[in-house]
């Protein structure tokens, strides 16, 4: 049984607190719609096989799984604070929340 209720999740993701409103367009089609989520783009080190890694960021957004079409798919589009991203990986936590890894377009 999930610890949070839908109301708990909505409160956590609210733009009144840590959340942002993203414009979400599923890759399977359909109009863009707003979803709330917690966005982060923390530094990360990317290994690309060479002598030195690339100093980059790992943008991702945490959303309610129920807000995503089919639970979210790779190449779903998110526009967050004017920047367009595509989902590179969809990582559900199994309790109603999903972290979507993003690539800048």
């Amino acid at each position: 049984m999930a610890v949070e209720t839908a109301a708990d999740r909505a409160a956590m993701l609210s733009s009144d607190d840590w959340g942002v409103v993203a414009s979400y367009t599923p890759v399977s089609g359909g109009a863009a719609r707003d979803v709330s989520g917690i966005f982060d783009a923390q530094w990360t080190s990317v290994e690309v096989g060479g002598e030195q890694p690339v100093s980059s960021t790992g943008p991702h957004i945490l959303v309610a799984t129920s807000d995503l079409t089919n639970g979210g798919r790779q190449n779903d589009t998110f526009v967050i604070e004017g920047i367009t991203y595509k989902a590179s990986d969809v990582q559900p936590d199994g309790t109603g929340m999903t972290s979507v890894m993003l690539h800048k377009q």
Partner: protein
């Protein structure tokens, strides 16, 4: 006088600076992480070297085989094609550089290795080009390629 190995490294870096795709984003012996803003880029290193006496007596020659490593890194869509374009530009530049040719007997591409990652803000790929540079010095005179 600098070691011939350094001269070769510098000549390689000069040869691959200003190429169409990577431009002046060329870094020699870089020991800090790459900045994403510098992509696409090239990192130039000299790696291991083997050597063997090839003459006795007065000439006392030493034949050397130096691994020259060029790491190419690119990001975004179509990076496979971008890296292959970079590889073509680098191979042509290395083969056609007169200053480098004056330092080495031969320089040959010995391996190309590709790596991919989706961990960053964009898809990224790396291509490691390893060249073997054959050059000769007299023993005890490492600064002069003969």
């Amino acid at each position: 006088m600098s070691h011939a190995r350094q001269q070769i490294r510098e000549a390689v870096a000069a040869a691959v600076t200003g190429l169409a795709t990577t431009g002046t984003n060329v870094f020699v012996n870089k020991i800090t992480p790459q900045e994403a803003e510098s992509l696409p880029n090239l990192l130039v290193y000299t790696d291991g070297e083997s050597s063997e006496a090839d003459a006795m007596g007065a000439s006392r020659g030493l034949m050397r085989a130096l691994d020259v490593v060029i790491d190419a890194t690119a990001e975004g869509e179509g990076i496979d094609d971008t890296l292959d374009t970079i590889a073509a530009e680098v191979e042509v530049a290395i083969a056609g550089d007169a200053a480098l040719a004056a330092l080495v007997k031969d320089i040959t591409l010995t391996s190309s290795a590709v790596s991919r990652s989706a961990a960053g803000q964009t898809p990224m790929m790396g291509l490691r080009l390893t060249f073997s540079a054959q050059y000769r010095t007299r023993r005890g005179v490492p600064g002069t390629s003969i």
